[in-house]
Subunit: 455 residues, 2 copies
């Protein structure tokens, strides 16, 4: 038998997270308070996050121990396999060796539980009873709902209304785990009500749902807020992906020339690539590292590197990041969780420093590549992950055209079994390749906040 799946023994599961803050070429610009323009401190975050996570958010420690209670849960589906995509390689007739890390093996079907479990654990440890969050396509909400079931926490998910209506199965999955799911905007929060006053038919957006969840947490003593991407501690929790992958590459004596992850807020991209970026910073290897985003929501490729709010209502601290403007409303493409206006500060800094690259693709070629992947490698990629699949295929075609060997590795961040409507529209020829219009970008960027001077 050919060596196709590279299984890491359970005993080799990473027991520490990798914190790239210890190795950055320069420190992150601090989150700042929009009204004062001053850096915020841990006490500013305490109303909405538990202290264990706030400490991780600002930690400069390279390695952070993973508590046993979290490892025990992750061991139910980790280590995930690293797979040599031999059938895809054959279909492409490429000299490239293509590998993918398969994060679709978790019960919620994506990489998101890697941080959801950790976040629920730290909240539980500090006596929190209830967690609020937002979800767009539903991957994050499902993961947090699952994690809350594990630790006996109540969970409320503000789900972008258009997804709530178009993806009833995602809502039911969260219900299976015991979570309460509400279509956002709701009339339960000030943020939701003010949106509905302006537009009673508002389909919602991730930014609005974040505003609602943050407000819910800030106004309830027993409740904290949980975010599925963007923040430093979230990205750190995801590094188990890349740490496992590095060991698996060692097992087969290979090392990637190109590392690829799809990019929305940045968590799966960072989790997969940061342990390799560490080698790049250390100068021991020099892989090309590519973040892939949808052309309809191109923060890394078309946004400026600037301070902006994480949400629509302007309730969060300002973060320095590549952003399309917090007022950005994504067009209705099937890119699920990738339709966010910003990018993780850590990813943004690496991009600004030239350590990583970014590309953007329209959705039709992305779905074409996803179908080729499904028919060769058998797993159905989530629409998000399909962006990484497409980039890997493009690179493999380039390797063929140039007649050279190339080791390509990408993260299959989740499966698409709850996103088959997008495939259905693709087969029916109903997908439009929407790009973000230049005038919409200008309009959104005009609203960028001026730190210390209000919006």
């Amino acid at each position: 038998m050919e060596h196709t799946c590279i299984h890491l023994p359970a005993s080799e599961m990473p027991r520490q997270w990798y914190n790239i803050q210890a190795d950055l070429p320069r420190p992150l610009d601090p989150p700042i308070h929009p009204a004062t323009g001053q850096p915020i401190g841990p006490e500013d975050l305490a109303p909405i996050f538990p202290m264990g996570l706030i400490e991780q958010e600002v930690s400069q420690q390279r390695w952070v121990d993973i508590p046993d209670e979290i490892l025990t849960v992750l061991a139910r589906w980790r280590p995930t396999p690293l797979v040599r995509a031999r059938r895809l390689e054959a279909a492409l007739d490429t000299p490239a060796r293509i590998y993918y890390k398969n994060e679709s093996f978790s019960p919620a079907g994506s990489h998101k539980p890697n941080t959801a479990v950790a976040q629920a654990y730290y909240n539980k440890r500090e006596g929190v009873r209830r967690i609020c969050t937002e979800t767009g396509a539903g991957q994050w909400g499902s993961a947090l709902a699952m994690a809350c079931a594990i630790f006996g926490l109540d969970c409320r998910v503000y789900m972008v209304r258009v997804s709530y209506e178009q993806k009833p199965y995602r809502r039911v999955l969260m219900n299976c785990y015991g979570a309460e799911v509400l279509p956002s905007p709701t009339r339960l929060t000030q943020a939701g009500r003010s949106v509905l006053e302006r537009d009673p038919e508002c389909p919602g957006s991730l930014g609005i749902a974040i505003s609602e969840a943050v407000e819910d947490a800030a106004t309830h003593d027993d409740t904290k807020y949980s975010l599925g991407s963007v923040l430093n501690h979230v990205l750190m929790h995801q590094t188990v992906i890349g740490l496992e992958a590095k060991k698996q590459f060692e097992m087969v004596g290979d090392y990637p020339d190109v590392l690829i992850g799809c990019h929305g807020g940045g968590s799966n991209f960072a989790g997969f690539t940061f342990p390799f970026v560490a080698d790049k910073i250390a100068g021991t290897h020099n892989p090309e590292v590519i973040a892939v985003e949808p052309a309809a929501s191109p923060s890394l490729t078309r946004g400026p590197y600037a301070y902006d709010f994480g949400d629509t209502a302007g309730m969060t601290p300002l973060l320095k990041m590549f952003t399309l403007g917090h007022g950005f409303v994504p067009p209705p493409v099937h890119a699920g969780g990738l339709r966010y206006h910003g990018a993780a500060p850590l990813v943004s800094l690496l991009k600004a420093e030239g350590l990583i690259d970014a590309v953007a693709y329209p959705q039709t070629p992305v779905f074409e590549s996803a179908v080729l992947f499904a028919r060769t490698e058998l797993w159905i990629p989530a629409p998000e992950s399909a962006h990484a699949v497409h980039c890997a295929i493009e690179k493999a075609r380039q390797a063929k055209a140039e007649g050279r060997e190339m080791v390509i590795a990408f993260n299959l961040s989740g499966h698409g079994l709850l996103d088959l409507a997008g495939y259905d529209q693709h087969f029916a020829g109903k997908l439009e390749d929407l790009e973000m219009p230049e005038e919409e970008l200008k309009r959104a960027l005009a609203e960028l906040p001026k730190p210390g001077g209000g919006q």
Copy 2:
């Protein structure tokens, strides 16, 4: 960390299937020709099955080598984990030790690819270009579509019309793998047309779809038919499940007192339990072995052991099995692939000989147990598999009531991510606990064929 997931090393994957025909207390009654009443021979099956599978169907050899080409594919998700259900045990406060084999890890989400890959391989080897099959809930159709993609075969799936309409995602999944999916009954076959003449609004049934697929194969030279359950070779391909599980129990030094599988046609039940039934026949162990079926489709618990057709139109040979009558139309319960009128001849013989037991449950308690399982063990059971979950929970409660240790093992045959509509109806209190009415059973059984004397 507690020992929760029992991972079998890839090198320990079974390389032979176990054929229980070598160990039966008495030989199977042969399939017979409905018109002549005589046993059929391999030549009668040759128009619809490749010879490699016909040989396996009648083989008396205890161990059958698995070709490398099949092993290579199965190794993409096998061996599957055996899991100690510690969180479920804690929730039930039971002295029982509960284990489950998790077959939901395959790309199509169930155990079905174990035989689909094998069947596609033997067809390909004999020059077949196209395979036809039927599917009800869609698990089997998805698996065969995937297997045909692997071996480059065309695939047509006759999908029970009511499922085709209610489960569009299943259809899209098959499209992703390149299969053509038609709502059955169609006007493309004599069997379909005759049903539609009597009832233009017919919602379809598994029996009707089988008739269409068999007719399609019998009337096209380049086409064979493929069945996802019931037949001896199909059950044998599934024994990799139980063979792995036996090794995994050895790894932890345990052995099940009770083995449980849900039962429709019999393939996952047989695949999981037969390697243990072998120990029972050999007298080395004496586990209780339980097949679980829906109260709405209770072939093993309420049907007679008699010769009957495998399909509705009466195109198949007669098989000796527990049956509700081939004219049986299942009520609309969420039991997916369990809604079949018959039971595998091998399972039927073991039941008749007292080597296995059967129970039937209505759907509400089954869904209640599935939700408890999801909230503790995190995987969302397919509605079919939920029947096994419920039986395991009932047994664990019995162990608690009796204050005794009990080792319970069941097969989680697939996940329910494409069946969340059933959970939605459960949460909304809309499920009805339909049983098969006595008069309907009488009516269906009155139509049992009289071998050699026509129907």
